[in-house]
Symmetry: C2
Subunit: 517 residues, 2 copies
């Protein structure tokens, strides 16, 4: 058994049985070994950002890591942005990067580069397999590290000769650790905060964004008058009819200032205290209101759901959560607008949908329109590195082949990793992509004003414009094997969206939406 075979066998035995890959010569033994371990599924991406984003989406839904296969330093570079998003989502990923043979590195061949330093910036777990006999144990350690709460990117660098060498030994899975328990003292202290009678905000993140955490938070809020919020960009948020509808903290500092106005205590549960996404001249970076106190109920590696339930047991023992009623918007009519496209989605979103949301400015009104839709999961852009939505949808569909995946995608963001559509076609994945095509980097038009860049003229505006020439996503999707159509009215969007959901396999709708702002 060679090193590659021991690696894949170990991964499969640890429950990691999907490999998103974009291999090169140094990974050929890994590729060849796929045939000797039939349980491992190989999914090809045509660019590494597709591979890493798909692994992120897969794990958010599957609840366990996939393995990525990247080619040397440039492959890691191409995949780095979506690994950054995965890092911010605390997504478990076993990130295998092939390297030159150990004895070949000193020759500084053209593809030689410093993989370790680049991978080190991901701040997760990082190891280089030095010998074939160790590969199995390294792989088992990588799987455990990836899943160690709250989850991380575990990178294993695999030199070609270590991969092709004989003497590989599969290794038994190392059970991942459970989240740490929050102390009873902390639970009681935080419960007291809710009893002060002063205005409290309860900020939820991580595992708290799923049903049990949301229910506990809703009970606390209902019993004490505290205002609950979801962190701005949750990795996976459960919502819809029958679940507590809890508002997300806004992207803009101005929104957050409004949401937290008058708050004296911010209780953070499975997330961190809010900070501004970017700095703006003369505005604060720390979004905790002046004079408010921050209390940590649970850090990211602690059992936030049990802690919330503990607090609820103290302050809301007899209080039920407030659940969203089942209610949908009416189907709108007329030209598509920034207001009515979200009503189409709200009216038609199917039961059990997974929504990969990279709508940026176009999606500002989406949460209101879908709060009473059937239960669904929302996967958001956790790290701000655009180009995440299509790959995440792709990976989510691999993880949950029986659930409809809806990818709501800004035009500018779509272009970074557009070839993920081809993977959707190849794997016949049930993904319906709606491109919110406002023909601009609309968010940057807004930011150009917000950063106070006065005096910007035609050259600056031109660099934020995507209309010369217009991008035809119908043709691009068809070129990658995905059936596609264009919608310019609400009726067209509704008809095309319903049809796409009813048919198996991927579809794309290029929706002409004017900019919101």
């Amino acid at each position: 058994m060679n090193g590659a075979q021991s690696l894949i066998r170990t991964l499969v035995d640890a429950g990691v049985d999907v490999c998103f890959s974009n291999p090169g010569t140094s990974e050929m033994h890994f590729v060849a070994a796929l045939d000797s371990v039939p349980e491992m599924r190989g999914v090809l991406g045509l660019a590494e950002g597709v591979v890493t984003g798909a692994a992120d989406g897969y794990a958010r839904i599957a609840g366990k890591p996939a393995v990525t296969l990247l080619h040397l330093g440039p492959g890691l570079g191409n995949g780095l942005a979506n690994l950054h998003n995965a890092r911010r989502a605390h997504t478990p990923i076993v990130n295998v990067i092939g390297d030159h043979a150990t004895y070949h590195k000193r020759y500084d061949a053209p593809l030689e580069s410093d993989i370790d330093s680049v991978a080190g910036t991901l701040g997760g777990w990082l190891r280089r397999s030095d010998s074939t006999a160790d590969v199995g144990a390294d792989a088992a350690a990588a799987v455990a590290a990836a899943q160690d709460p709250p989850g991380r990117v575990a990178t294993l660098i695999l030199p070609a000769d270590v991969s092709w060498g004989d003497g590989g030994k599969p290794c038994a899975a190392v059970p991942p650790r459970a989240p740490k328990a929050v102390s009873e003292t902390t639970v009681k202290q935080v419960a007291e905060v809710f009893r002060t009678g002063e205005p409290v905000a309860l900020l939820l993140g991580g595992a708290a964004c799923r049903e049990p955490g949301l229910r506990a938070a809703s009970r606390i809020a209902a019993a004490t008058g505290a205002k609950p919020f979801i962190e701005t960009f949750p990795a996976r948020l459960e919502r819809g009819a029958g679940l507590p509808a809890i508002e997300r903290l806004g992207y803009l500092a101005e929104q957050v200032a409004y949401q937290l106005d008058g708050i004296k205590h911010v209780v953070v549960a499975g997330t961190k205290a809010p900070v501004s996404f970017f700095a703006y001249p003369g505005k604060a970076s720390d979004l905790v209101p002046d004079g408010a106190q921050v209390h940590t109920l649970a850090t990211l590696d602690e059992d936030v759901v049990a802690a919330l339930e503990g607090v609820a047991g103290i302050v809301a023992a007899d209080t039920e959560p407030v659940l969203a009623p089942a209610e949908r918007p009416e189907l709108p009519t007329g030209e598509l607008t920034a207001q009515n496209w979200v009503q189409v989605i709200g009216a038609l979103l199917p039961e059990g949908a997974i929504v990969s949301d990279e709508t940026n400015t176009s999606g500002l009104l989406l949460p209101g329109a879908t709060a009473g839709a059937p239960r669904h999961d929302v996967l958001t852009l956790t790290g701000g590195a655009i180009g995440q939505g299509i790959p995440v949808a792709t990976g989510a569909a691999v993880a949950a082949p029986d659930r409809p995946v809806v990818n709501l995608e800004a035009d500018g963001s779509a272009l970074y990793t557009i070839s993920a559509l081809w993977t959707q076609a190849r794997e016949n994945l049930n993904v319906t992509t709606v491109i919110l095509n406002n023909r601009a980097y609309a968010i940057l038009r807004m930011e150009l004003q917000r950063v106070g860049a006065e005096g910007s003229g035609p050259k600056a505006k031109s660099l934020l414009d995507l209309s010369t020439p217009d991008i035809d996503f119908v043709r691009i999707a068809e070129g990658m094997g995905v059936p596609a159509s264009r919608a310019t009215t609400a009726e067209e969007l509704a008809e095309q969206f319903a049809r796409a959901l009813a048919e198996p396999g991927p579809h794309l709708i290029d929706a002409a939406i004017p900019p919101l702002l």
Copy 2:
């Protein structure tokens, strides 16, 4: 004057007047400042690999750097593969990366990451601007460092508040250094090597790959019987009728072993001694024949052309170079094959063309077919990180608007940075892209065998297959605003290629070529 304005003013004063950019919020003041310095041209790329690859292509043709504008760590990650290729090409690039405001970094906002460590792996020049007053001087230093022989990526990290702050001071250009002179002693010693009567190979790289260096090398070879070779992947190679036709060293170790068979001395001039691109089980990494001596005539930062002319003056004072006659292949007929498509290119390549060559396996027979075509420049994949050809062609066309640019591009490689086509349409660049569409990662099929990965079965082969579904580059190009057509016969390719060259603006031809191997 703010920091961004002082930066752009300084760059323009130093002759750097093209900015390839994919900006975000932290770069909005740079974008705004473009309107206050009219000499700077902003060129938008829809992904950072387009931006960095275009800057590489631009500088290879313009002979001076462009500036890139990237957004934070993820933007650098997306652009890293083509910066790696630029590093291997010794291309001067002023690589500006926006960062969060200095005071914002400690909040660990979602887009925070370790930019410095990733940029550090490029091994070039790296500086972080700490104060607005220093930005001008930092920019001047970056331009000088980028151009310091042999050329490099000079990265300037620009925090948002340093960019928007008042008190920017433009700085006068720092003249770049000239290449170091090779000592007369070295020239004489190396000249003696050519007089030993033993078999000598003369390996040319860097500046030696343009007319004066090629002529000197050809004289040396003609006078002494030495075998001249071009390094495997030159950044810019001048060739065609009226220039010496010097063979490139092969990509495969087996080819190089054949080319260097019996050689006793390898003289390297503006490059390094040959090494294998990858390691293969049981094969040598060092491609210098056993027992042969390596002699360095000129290192990468030395004046290799003067050194070659010095040697030629000693050993070939009365010898003329051997120049390629003007001769083209006949236009072929019938179904396209791996053999005949290169004849179409050879028959029709226009005078003064710039060829961006990312043909990989499909291009093995190209050099023979174009050796007697009119004079042209060839830009190759210097670092092995695929996804370079379309961006490099884009940048080259910006640098030389009056020259026809021909991009010969493998299908698999094209998908990494396909949105460069949109930039070609937006800027109305004269680029004719021919996709060699063999519906496979054909090079990896070959490598799967070469690395000895026996026992590879259907799963492995499937991961190297691009035919399920077929990729329709005509539709993709049209979706990005580039007129396109499909060729399946030699006649169609010839007709479409000639027409594309005759019309202004970009065109794409999706050429159905069976795999060579």
